[in-house]
Symmetry: C2
Subunit: 348 residues, 2 copies
């Protein structure tokens, strides 16, 4: 049975939300949970649900705050819920880790504790962006501030495999985020990446897209460097949050507005739901030799539940094995073609 | 009196909208207009308003479509409304140019026809982003897909001067768009740019900001490379458009919803108005040896009017002269310090 370590201390809404999400996941899916966090805090929360045969509490004395510098956390807080939770995979006691805590710390500890998957030059953080058609997986959204073309190629392959196996999507469409849709436009990175993406049959590459087309859902996977991905993710989230807030405010602003809002309730709900990042749970750190899922700090129980179920899918569909295989295939194709040497970058 | 050349053929809403915007501007501001476009199309539109003593029609036989490749347009359509309209500044017949047409073509023709301002290594396209506090000027949003630190420094100076003189803003706050707010975080470009921005007293530099903080209006000027700026501008616009559309749809979806919407009308209007890029008119291409304003293709008459008035401010406040002066000052400071040579980049 898949064993998922869950960071009980991560997330802005506190352990109650995490535990609620976990309990919901346990009621719909077969897996074992290792709930990692401060016993004194989680114990009483767990007690409310009574003992569960598939939940084990793992005490972690330290917590990493959401604004703590990851570099410092990695040095000083190995026995935090994130540090210990990820360590469980190295000790073969868990198959996956989920956290809604400090993203940078999860990334840093994941790399440190689990290392890179064979063949991967740079792991990437993926994020689900809601679109008019459903969602698109965008990566990298923050692990790599400077990228090479090969990194983007690997992001594309990892994202495609993840959607193929975990979401049963046949030949996911991959797009390259660029400036202008023509292949001759973009920056040095995207010009080089365009050629690489087009050159492999492992991908269903549909070409370049501009930022304006992400929301249209023209591709299942959108690749970009982590700096750009981070900027659009954060800017986009801030707009969605602002819209939701303004709608909420206007709804609570007076009797007439309240009545009006009541009449429009379903429209509002559709809008906010469609645009909400919460619906999609967490997304994986792709390219590490293990399984580490990152949830939004504002995740509600529903998002935590989805994320935990997603990690089970990831483990059971053996996504990492498929990534390793396809990257080896890419590398051997490259060698048989005379080798650009590109596919070996960063694998010393 | 300031003479503004107006591209009558640009913009998705057609010449009627441009002419309407121009007439509105003429009624509130003293300036002379040179309306450039196809006589057969604009003549009849102008006739509806009757002859105006401060409007002259300049015939341009060609139009550049919004999806035409700028490189081809520059070669083949010199007698387009954009080509001829910008040419008027070289012939000393106009002081400024405004267009809601093909942005790439306006950029290309501006550079070709007017050239760079002395001391500027790379001109930048600025854009106004609505924020919770008003607006922020973000640049570059598309002229430069790859930038050096010096380019960002010059963008910061040009943006500051523009807001100082055209908007009467004392010591505008300048932020650097980055990944993480700490100065030690970001990509190679922002790490180098951070040091440059901090090192000059010409700027009121407030540090790095993440994409999520733009909307909070924490800075008057936000600098980034054109690739990132373009991505966030386009992605942000698509979200705002989607929200506006969904609200409009829900309002027209049934009697109950209509009634509800009517009751919420002012809330909606505030939201859409606050987030609308149309309110802010056009933004300049900063760093060229002339004045060229770019409006959104979807501009309504109100935006065209604002943009035209903005060009008058730009000309009358002699923004370009101030830019030239401050860049010379920066360059001499650099030389007196032993000179990094950086300030001379690209000025051969």
């Amino acid at each position: 049975m898949t064993r998922v370590a869950v960071d009980a201390m991560g997330g802005d809404r506190g352990p109650e939300t995490i535990v609620q999400g976990l309990m919901d996941a346990l009621s719909t899916r077969e897996f074992e949970a290792l709930l990692v966090g401060d016993e004194a805090v989680i114990g009483p929360v767990l007690d409310r649900y009574g003992p569960h045969p598939r939940v084990e509490l793992i005490h972690a004395p330290h917590v990493i705050g959401s604004h703590e510098a990851p570099s410092a956390a990695v040095r000083r807080k190995r026995d935090s819920s994130i540090g210990l939770g990820l360590g469980l995979q190295r000790e073969k006691k868990a198959d996956a880790f989920v956290s809604a805590g400090n993203t940078g710390a999860v990334m840093a500890f994941s790399l440190l504790t689990l290392g890179r998957l064979k063949g991967v030059s740079r792991p990437a953080v993926a994020a689900f962006f809601p679109t008019k058609k459903g969602f698109s997986l965008v990566l990298d959204v923050g692990a790599n501030s400077d990228c090479k073309a090969l990194n983007l190629l690997q992001f594309a392959i990892m994202g495609s495999i993840y959607l193929s196996y975990s979401f049963n999507k046949a030949r996911p469409e991959v797009a390259l985020l660029s400036m202008g849709e023509e292949e001759t436009k973009g920056n040095d990175l995207t010009l080089a990446a365009h050629d690489l993406l087009r050159s492999t049959e492992l991908l269903n590459f549909v070409g370049n897209i501009e930022g304006s087309r992400i929301l249209d859902g023209v591709a299942d996977v959108v690749v970009c460097d982590g700096f750009v991905g981070n900027a659009i993710l954060k800017f986009g989230e801030s707009i969605v949050e602002y819209v939701s807030e303004t709608i909420r405010e206007s709804v609570s602003s007076g009797l007439k507005a309240k009545l009006g809002a009541l009449m429009l309730k379903s429209s509002f709900q559709t809008l906010v739901k469609r645009m909400s990042y919460e619906e999609y749970g967490g997304a994986p750190l792709l390219g590490i030799d293990g399984v580490s899922f990152i949830c939004h700090g504002k995740s509600k129980a529903r998002a935590i539940r989805s994320a935990i179920i997603s990690t089970c899918d990831y483990v059971e569909e053996r996504v990492n094995e498929h990534i390793r295989e396809q990257l080896a295939q890419l590398s051997s194709q490259d060698t048989s073609r005379g080798g650009t040497g590109l596919c070996q970058e960063g694998q010393g």
